[in-house]
Amino acid sequence: MEGFLQLLLNGTALGSIYALIALGYTMVYGILRLINFAHGDIVMVGAYAGLFTALAVNGPAHPDLFHFFIVLLAAMAVSALLGLFIERFAYRPLRNFPRLNLLITAVGVSLLLENLGQVVFGATPRVFPDIMPSMNWFQFGQVAITNQQVTVFGTSLFLMVVLEWIVLKTKLGRAMRAVSYSHEIASLVGIPTDKIISFTFAVGSALAAAAGILVCISYPKVDPLMGVMIGLKAFVAAVLGGIGSIRGAVVGGFLMGIAESMVVGYGSSTYRDALAFAILILILLFKPAGLFGKYQPEKV
């Protein structure tokens, strides 16, 4: 029982990270109908941005909340800019082309980021410094809630609430929803479609960077290919919840994290990565719209 609780806690913390990344996938898919293959690599860039900021402000010497926020904000800013840049120069010129071209470009951007990362940062993993004090908030027998887990969960919950507020309560969010409904009609009623799409990319990328920092707090290792697997799993989480649905991404992320934690705990960690693909295949076979998605028949 204690083991189960501990796994549930670990899974929830991991799931909140997946949920943050899945939100970026789902937002971009909702607005452009594009699976942004490069999203996982934006997580990686965010993690590196965080690493360099942490070293620059000498974070390891002062592990506290203030330095954590500086690192988090810097990473989010860098990734948001990168997201804007990618959207502007790689995706926007192709907006009126077949979607297959957009997909291939996304694969290309992803490969470029990974390989450029290996050239610029080197292929060897680097250790992410401890920027949070490690302590246990709560100890009950074998079950412990660590400071890292609280930080991860708290940060991601806060960001999700902010996102929910932006999308549902602000004028910008209403414009985003309008553009995702129809680009043409949105631009007819005076919504600057291009700017809204850019904004969506910036927000999604910032969330990805935050997730990158949270990953590094839990597993302090940064390498240029770290985004590949995390990105794929978060994508599966988005599909599980119903791609295009924001609530679905959050629920899918948590389910994914808990399922992975259980498989590692009770099964074998070699099946850790196969699990994501197995879930994906099952979902696509039996409920392609996901848990919260709407099935839209294709019309000529």
Binding site: Q118, V119, L232, T270, D273, F277, L280, I281, P288
Partner: protein, 320 residues
């Protein structure tokens, strides 16, 4: 029948010429030539799915792996009694390649039947997933070496066989496109719903194309295994799949000769770039590949040749 015999003679002559060429060229270039031809077979196989039927598969390396491991296992564990004489070696190789085609085709059927009901981008992800799952499974089979790789496979692939098979696949694809089944695939590429409305059984055709494509990739895998006489699961990872996709995209989706041209360019380019690598001390190959892919999509989304073949370039364009 007579036309078929003529083609057989032409293919044999081309393959003999290639065999002769590898004898004349320095071994380094001969080796590159054979590897380029194996890559070209892979590109031709993927072109059937990504180019002609308009689907987007990202798991071709997985089927190549199935073919490579099936052929190698059969040849090493089952056909040892044939080894020794040149004729016996070649017979064992041909049987292994046949088994590779059947095995890969079967796996392609298992993967294709459920997944090809999905739309473009989902299909890409699921084929990627299957490709990775195949690789992970092979990684865990100790009988074929697991992560250490499969060693001492007979080194019996010849330039003659590779070029003969490549030309045969090209010819078959070309004839297939001209036949009604090929036209049905092109109709699916242009508009799946409209094709269905015209009475094309889209699922059967898509799965059929997928199975044939996997089988051909399996043959390429078998040739690859018997050329290098050593294979390792990491030779068939996601990067290999992407490399094959890049060949098809770069050459022009749907153009067979374009895919072959791109396969040759992409096999020789890294070698040509070697001085650059010596100079900068970093492996810029994949950076250049991916950059090329993006630039290609932005500047010339239809690829080098578009949907035309090399031999059609010099003909006047037919009026639209």
């Amino acid at each position: 029948m007579r036309a078929n015999l003529q083609w057989l003679v032409i293919l044999t002559v081309i393959a003999l010429a290639a065999q002769g060429l590898t004898q004349v060229l320095p071994p380094y270039f001969g080796q590159l030539l054979i590897l380029a031809c194996i890559n070209a077979i892979l590109a031709v196989s993927l072109n059937l799915v990504n180019g002609l039927s308009g689907q987007f598969s990202l798991g071709q390396a997985g089927f190549m792996a199935v073919g490579a491991y099936t052929a190698a296992s059969l040849n090493v564990f089952g056909l040892g009694f044939l080894h020794g004489t040149p004729l016996g070696d070649q017979a064992a190789l041909l049987l292994s390649l046949l088994a590779a085609a059947i095995a890969s085709g079967f796996v392609g059927y298992l993967v294709g039947l459920p997944t090809l009901r999905l739309r473009g981008d989902y299909l890409a992800i699921v084929t990627l997933g299957f490709g990775e799952i195949i690789r992970v499974i092979i990684l865990n089979i100790q009988a074929v070496g697991g992560a250490r790789g499969f060693i001492s496979i007979p080194n019996s692939t010849s330039a003659f066989l590779v070029v003969f098979l490549l030309s045969a696949f090209v010819l078959l694809t070309h004839r297939f496109v001209m036949a009604s089944q090929g036209r049905a695939l092109l109709a699916i590429r242009e508009n799946e719903i409209a094709a269905e409305a015209m009475g094309v059984d889209t699922t059967t055709y898509k799965v059929g194309a997928f199975v044939v494509s996997s089988a051909v990739a399996g043959v390429a895998g078998g040739l690859f295994a018997h050329y290098l006489s050593y294979i390792n699961p990491s030779s068939f990872d996601f990067m290999k799949s992407v490399e094959i996709v890049i060949m098809v995209v770069l050459g022009g989706m749907g153009s067979v000769s374009g895919a072959i041209l791109a396969a040759f360019i992409l096999t020789f380019l890294p070698e040509a770039l070697r001085p650059l690598q010596d100079w900068t001390h970093v492996d810029l190959r994949m950076v250049i590949y991916s950059f090329l892919l993006i630039v290609m999509m932005l500047v010339r989304p239809q690829g080098m040749l578009g949907r035309r073949e090399i031999w059609e370039l010099f003909k006047p364009r037919s009026p639209q």
